[in-house]
């Protein structure tokens, strides 16, 4: 751990796992030491052990919150992903559509999409999760659309010539060459979108709608001065974001193994 260099094969696996764990434990201990040593008030920064205790005590509630927010994020990810990929394909095939869509998508990408949440709550009713799912879907749509469209334009000239020499239909060429070429870009877009989906679904809860999700739970715990619990929900959000990101990363790695050369 201490003297072996990264090149040495046997210790690298242990190093990659061990090093961040040791660092994490050190940070937590330092944090705990600072909070108790300097007698920092809980509303400023609770001690990590206190957060951990709240997390363990309210495991069921945190898990429920994660399920609600995670469900919204997942629906948003799927909806935004499907629409993003479909519209990117249309844009790649029809130049006119691309030119019409470009300014709208560009505008969409600079709008803070969670700002739409209050409007959407009025549209779909404050008792439904629809508004949150749509916010997540909109946030997902932008990176998926742009990355897919970029990927669809990566077809190598030699492959284009080959397809022309085979006299195939444009749909055949899309299926055989264009889509597989674009696939790594699609999954990069989805990976970026996966964490955006969680963040958007969570932030959207701050603007209204039914209780139960992580965002609502954080605000209600904080407003009732239960700071340890609020931080336990924050911990739940971090875990949820990591789960989404890692899942997307694993899928990306699996799918794009063979698209290098």
């Amino acid at each position: 751990m201490t003297t072996t260099r990264p090149g040495a094969a046997p210790s690298t696996a242990a190093q990659t796992v061990l090093a961040p764990i040791v660092f994490g434990v050190a940070v937590i201990l330092l944090w705990q030491g600072l909070v108790t040593g300097l007698a920092i008030k809980a509303f400023v920064l609770p001690a990590p052990f206190a957060i951990g205790a709240e997390f363990a005590a309210n495991l069921q509630n945190v898990a429920n919150g994660m399920a609600v927010t995670g469900g919204n994020a997942l629906i948003g990810l799927i909806l935004g992903g499907v629409v993003g990929i479909a519209l990117a394909i249309v844009s790649a095939l029809a130049r006119l559509f691309d030119e019409m869509a470009a300014p709208i998508v560009a505008a969409l990408s600079v709008v803070p999409i969670v700002a739409l949440a209050p409007v959407l709550y009025t549209m779909f009713g404050a008792g439904a999760e629809t508004a949150r799912q749509l916010v997540a879907a909109l946030a997902v749509f932008v990176p998926v659309y742009f990355n897919t469209l970029k990927g669809l334009r990566q077809v190598r000239p030699v492959h284009r010539d080959l397809m022309r020499s085979y006299a195939v239909t444009s749909w055949q060429a899309t299926r055989v060459v264009t889509l597989p070429t674009a696939l790594p870009f699609v999954f990069t877009g989805l990976r970026i979108a996966s964490s955006l989906a969680v963040i958007s679904a969570l932030i959207a809860e701050y603007f209204g709608g039914p209780v139960g999700g992580l965002g609502k739970s954080i605000t209600s715990a904080a407003s009732s001065s239960n700071y340890g619990l609020a931080w336990a929900y924050v911990l739940g959000s971090i875990i949820l974001g990591l789960v989404f990101y890692s899942a997307a990363l694993i899928v990306e790695k699996l799918v794009t193994r063979r698209s290098g050369g």
Partner: protein
């Protein structure tokens, strides 16, 4: 598939494989008159004949090949392939093509890449498998059928590309510097293999190259081209016997050296060669 190859055979009996008549190609520029890549090029390739196009960069040899393949359209003149317009020949899949880059699909195995044209043109799965196995054996890659392109060397990838171009038993092969990116040793081995494959398949070949020995070793005729504008300077008959008789020994043959120096002289615009039109000295051709 059977029908297809039958029509191809009937074609070969009556018409030349390629008939290029007075073809010109001008690439229009944003301002100015544009670039004349080809000017008044005429050439006929007989069925089963191996013709090389050689010349320095910018002489339009690749452009000419792309026009025959209908990957590009001529500004003037006409191109017929087996008596049909080039476009119709492309739609009827009368030719197979190989490029300087192997252009394999990295997400498909060797077998998958060779099956690609067959799959696109609706051949059944079983027949496809058998044909691919046949072709893989022909190019000597039987142990690598299940490998992916990134696991193969450049020479092996190029052999897969050649097998793919042969998949539908075309009566015409178009090859655009297929060995251009290979090292000299691999290159000579690939040339020997191509000679063998051509003898077996009886296909006519139009072969674009930079290399004089390569052109002479492979061809029945070598078309020497000159640049700016791209024109045919001369056509050299290489009388080294038919494909089946060509082997490694040929590289030491006197006739081989004779044709070699003939092509070289033409490329360098040497009037003493007795043929060819006057032109500026031509650079950029490999004489090794």
């Amino acid at each position: 598939m059977t029908n297809n190859s039958m029509t191809n055979t009937s074609n070969t009996t009556s018409n030349p494989a390629v008939n290029v008549r007075g073809v010109g190609r001008i690439f229009s520029a944003r301002k100015g008159p544009g670039v004349t890549a080809l000017e008044d090029v005429s050439i006929t390739v007989a069925p089963g004949e191996f013709v090389s196009l050689i010349g320095p960069s910018g002489c339009g040899k690749s452009t000419l090949l792309r026009l025959v393949a209908d990957l590009d359209t001529p500004t003037s003149g006409s191109i017929e392939v087996f008596g049909k317009p080039a476009r119709q020949a492309r739609i009827d899949q009368d030719y197979g093509i190989a490029f300087q880059q192997a252009g394999l699909l990295p997400w498909r195995t060797v077998a998958g890449n060779i099956e690609l044209p067959l799959e696109l043109h609706g051949m059944g799965k079983g027949a496809r498998r058998r044909r691919a196995a046949e072709l893989i054996a022909l190019v000597g890659l039987s142990d690598f059928a299940a490998n992916y392109p990134d696991q193969l060397s450049g020479g092996m990838q190029q052999r897969v590309a050649i097998a793919r171009s042969l998949a539908e038993s075309p009566s015409l092969l178009l090859m655009d510097e297929p060995f251009g990116a290979l090292d000299e040793m691999t290159r000579e081995r690939m040339q020997n293999e191509l000679v063998r494959i051509c003898a077996e398949t009886q296909a006519a070949v139009v072969f674009v190259t930079h290399s004089i020995p390569e052109a002479v070793f492979l061809s029945n005729r070598v078309v020497v081209m000159s640049p700016r504008p791209g024109r045919i300077r001369s056509i050299v008959d290489v009388s080294l016997g038919d494909m089946a008789g060509r082997s490694e020994d040929l590289r030491e043959d006197e006739g081989f050296f004779h044709s070699l120096s003939q092509v070289r002289d033409l490329l360098h615009g040497d009037e003493a060669a007795g043929v060819g039109t006057p032109g500026a000295g031509v650079r950029g051709v490999e004489t090794r």
